[in-house]
């Protein structure tokens, strides 16, 4: 098998890695923002329920959450596979293989990351002092203006470092999709190792893809942090 062929297969896996990464971010960030308002809500039962939920999600391994999303619907439905039907649907309508597992992975990733993001957002919003809001109020600003013109920017500055960490972790977490048979980068490499004759080196080589991706993100976030450092508290 040629180097080029192996690269092509790994790249296809890396495409799935990127897909999981991007869709998770695109949905988990707004969902996390909504959740963060929930855990800062004045309605105490809502706040408590959401806090317990977030505690559970952050307290158990993401791998277990993937298994739960993937296997529980079938178990609850007398063993009738739910995701199998989704698989068929995706295959016959769009020609996508393993669509059920992919959807299950996306759901678990989105829920998991939304919870982490919610806690970061809450921290960011609460760290902007009450005094900033009140200064806006006595200047006759509307609630919307206060959020958009006064609070939001300060929150973005505060949460950029922890969000960078979390987003870089997400790049590497996507490998967990492997657990229910998604052929992402690592699984694609593994397939060579378990093939005949076995080719081992792609497993180690696959790390290069992650390194390049994480390197790119690191440069991006450093740039952003620099842009935001024109003022201090």
């Amino acid at each position: 098998m040629s180097f080029l062929q192996i690269n092509e297969t790994l790249l296809r896996g890396f495409g799935l890695t990127c897909l999981i990464f991007i869709i998770t971010l695109a949905v988990a960030i707004p969902l996390g923002l909504i959740l963060s308002f929930g855990i800062m809500s004045k309605i105490s039962p809502l706040r408590k329920i959401l806090n317990v939920f977030i505690w559970i999600i952050r307290g158990i391994p993401l791998m277990l959450q993937i298994f739960m999303v993937y296997y529980l619907p079938g178990i609850l439905n007398n063993g009738v596979s739910f995701w199998g039907d989704v698989d068929k649907y995706f295959y016959f309508n769009y020609g996508i293989e393993n669509g059920g597992a992919l959807l299950a992975v996306l759901i678990s990733f989105i829920i998991n990351y939304a919870c982490y993001f919610a806690v970061i957002f809450r921290g960011g919003i609460q760290s902007v002092s009450r005094g900033q809001t009140e200064a806006g109020m006595v200047l006759g600003l509307t609630k919307k203006q206060i959020f958009r013109k006064v609070i939001l920017f300060q929150v973005i500055k505060k949460i950029t470092p922890p969000m960078s960490n979390e987003i870089i972790t997400l790049v590497k977490d996507t490998a967990l999709a492997n657990a229910i048979g998604i052929v992402e980068t690592i699984r694609a490499a593994q397939n060579f190792a378990s093939g005949f004759p076995p080719v081992i080196w792609p497993i180690f080589y696959s790390g290069v893809f992650y390194l390049l991706f994480v390197g790119f993100l690191t440069v991006l976030f450093n740039f952003l942090e620099k842009k935001l450092s024109f003022y201090k508290e």
Partner: protein, 266 residues
């Protein structure tokens, strides 16, 4: 009737009875100082006037208009609240400048947002013209507080005294009828209080109506037309600065004043 009339403001937090019936009046162009030990409810009173808190009972009348009546105003709508707030300016102890905006932008943010809203409602309002006027006024304010050359700097680059002067300019930019100060120099190093007090004194020269909560007794005596001494949520004594400072009647005020003298003597 006086320019500002407050009648029977009461406020409780939980079972903490913070304001126990405060009534006071201020004439146009007058400076009222409020003194009293920490916890006596001075900040809460200012916050009630600025609609940051809602008094449980009481009435507030400004320039003949009833701004607040606890009987009727249980829940004021946001837009009405904003308009009522704009009658007052408030300078906070901790400045509360917006750190991400330059000095100039801190001063012009609110006026420019107001202008934008006016343009949306009324197509005949010219934004460019209005903006120019706002910027020119901001320049004048900067000159007044002596920080013209700091216009482009960010709050973190300024000393506390300079930041508080900017906060005063920011409040003035909205042309409030009454400007309130909540211990404007308490967060400052002693050597920086003078520059802030100087700015406030210059405002008195312009016949601005001001309400100043302060621990600077010399300043209060010197700048005020009227002094109110608060203790445990009531006005214990009030009058001309001379009477209040040189001729205190109540035991509480005597104790308060001698306590401050001891501190200053240290």
């Amino acid at each position: 009737m006086a320019y500002l009339e407050i009648k029977d403001f009461r406020k409780t937090f939980g079972n903490n009875n913070v304001l126990k019936g405060i009534s006071l009046s201020v004439e146009k162009g007058e400076v009222l100082s409020i003194i009293g030990s920490s916890g006596s409810g001075k900040t809460t009173l200012l916050r009630c006037m600025n609609f940051l808190e809602t008094p449980d009972t009481g009435v507030m009348i400004l320039d003949g208009e009833t701004l607040f009546d606890a009987e009727k105003d249980k829940k004021i709508k946001e837009n009405a609240l904003r308009e009522k707030r704009l009658n007052f300016g408030l300078v906070f102890q901790s400045f509360n400048l917006f750190p991400q905006y330059s000095v100039m932008d801190n001063i012009t943010l609110a006026p420019l947002l107001q202008l934008k809203e006016r343009c949306k409602k009324d197509k005949t309002v010219n934004f460019a013209e209005g903006k120019q006027k706002i910027l020119a006024e901001a320049e004048q304010l900067l000159e007044k507080i002596g920080l013209t050359e700091k216009a482009a700097e960010y709050p973190y680059q300024l000393s506390g005294g300079q930041q508080q002067r900017v906060a005063i300019a920011r409040a003035l930019a909205l042309k409030p009828k009454i400007l309130c100060f909540d211990e404007p120099t308490s967060a400052l190093d002693p050597e920086l209080t003078g520059e802030v007090l100087k700015v406030i004194r210059s405002l008195k020269g312009e016949d601005r109506t001001m309400i100043i909560v302060t621990h600077e007794m010399g300043f209060a005596k010197n700048v005020s037309d009227k002094v109110v001494f608060m203790a445990q949520g009531v006005i214990e004594e009030e009058g001309a600065p001379k009477d209040v400072f040189d001729n205190p009647k109540s035991e509480k005020l005597k104790a308060f004043l001698s306590g401050i003298k001891d501190k200053e003597g240290e």
